[in-house]
Symmetry: C2
């Protein structure tokens, strides 16, 4: 269950989190932009299934794939890891970094502001 998901695998999960269940074909079709071959996508699906990140349902001679893990949970875990590793667990420096490089739009800042206001009460 708590195996790590690699970057390529993450892109496959994204597709399935957006829509499911899907066949390997469907998933590959939605990953056009990556330039990956069909077999590559199948390999990634197999690895994800093997580590319990998605479920398979037989549909005739093929499988229908669907996520078995919650996106938010994984995202939270990865965030935590990064913040721990890079900033000793303190998130402010991370935000500061993004801000410094002009990565924050006014909308992002407004969103953060609202979030902080909410956290404070």
């Amino acid at each position: 269950m708590s195996e790590r998901i690699s970057e390529a695998e993450w892109q496959v999960m994204e597709v399935l989190w957006t829509q499911h269940p899907l066949t390997a074909q469907d998933v590959a079709a939605r990953l056009q932009t990556t330039g990956w071959g069909l077999t590559t996508v199948k390999t990634l699906l197999s690895r994800l299934a093997a580590k319990g990140a998605l479920t398979t349902t037989e549909d005739g001679r093929r499988y229908l794939y669907a996520p078995a893990v919650d996106r938010a949970a994984i995202a939270a875990g990865e965030s935590r890891r990064l913040v721990d590793r890079l900033f000793g667990g303190r998130p402010a420096p991370l935000v500061a970094h993004l801000a410094e490089r002009g990565e924050l739009s006014p909308a992002d800042i407004a969103e953060l502001e609202a979030l902080i206001r909410e956290l404070k009460q």
Copy 2:
């Protein structure tokens, strides 16, 4: 120059960012907690030197190691990658995730608040 730095390598860099220059021995000594052997640390130092992440100065028969890359720059890059990958580039959901899991102390929130105030003007 822009090679990625792995997690184990990151720990070595941390030591050198904190203090430098240091010998392999010194670095290993400061990595006691990892349980790594001296040769493991030496391998990591070599790999980091090979990818230009640190500089070596000869000191008799051994090297003195020092960082050749800026911690903040690397941290910013890694942050950006993660935020892009997990949250479509928007940092607020990341902060929200950390908040949800109670990962934010009141001090963290205050720090973020101050930062936002600063960003706004």
